[in-house]
């Protein structure tokens, strides 16, 4: 079993829809959670960063972390064709300057297409 599981999709939605992307994880030490957007053949772009449990909102994007269920989500409101990309969740356990602390563990990515 992978440490981080993410539904690969592909996910196709009409413009304006609310998109829900999810990841589950097994390592209870994870406490830093990120969502990245990656366009084809480009580097990942950091969208959202959340420390520990709770919600965080930034414009059309909302990130949720439920550590008790080991489940994180990214919601995209009023989705646009420009949101069409692969979305990657990532997480790490600590910020100390040694060991596997800052090693990001990624989900496999969900490919999203927003149709005009």
């Amino acid at each position: 079993q992978k440490e981080v599981e993410q539904d690969p999709g592909p996910l196709s939605v009409p413009e304006g829809a609310i998109v829900s992307l999810n990841c589950t994880y097994s390592n209870s030490a994870f406490q830093y959670f990120m969502w990245y957007r990656q366009y084809s053949r480009k580097g990942p772009e950091l969208l959202m960063y959340t420390y520990s449990s709770g919600n965080k909102e930034d414009g059309r994007f909302t990130a949720q972390v439920d550590k008790s269920s080991k489940y994180i989500s990214l919601f995209i409101r009023d989705s646009q064709p420009s949101d069409s990309a692969t979305y990657l969740c990532a997480m790490s356990s600590s910020v100390i300057s040694s060991g596997s602390a800052r090693q990001l563990t990624f989900g496999s990515g969900t490919q999203l297409t927003v149709l005009p």
Binding site: Y36, G43, E45, V95, R102
Partner: protein, 115 residues
Amino acid sequence: EAGVTQSPTHLIKTRGQQATLRCSPISGHTSVYWYQQALGLGLQFLLWYDEGEERNRGNFPPRFSGRQFPNYSSELNVNALELEDSALYLCASSSRPDSEGYEQYFGPGTRLTVT
């Protein structure tokens, strides 16, 4: 503010050769991370450098190595290239963590093709 930069954009090498990839972090960032994104394998952690020292390496053979220079830029070297080394190599950087952690910002990547 300039982001993470990587060079070259593309690199084509023959099996058995050596490849050198370069990364410049965001100004003020002291940590550099290297990841490999191979088709079908997702993003896998390779190496982490902080303040000039290697802090951690992922599950990759010793022919993957690198270093970090005094200006915090970094170099990834891949020796004795194999066909399966063909991938997008991504560099990320972060600043010193604060009370709520840190964020890793990625560069555009170097696409390495081994023939």
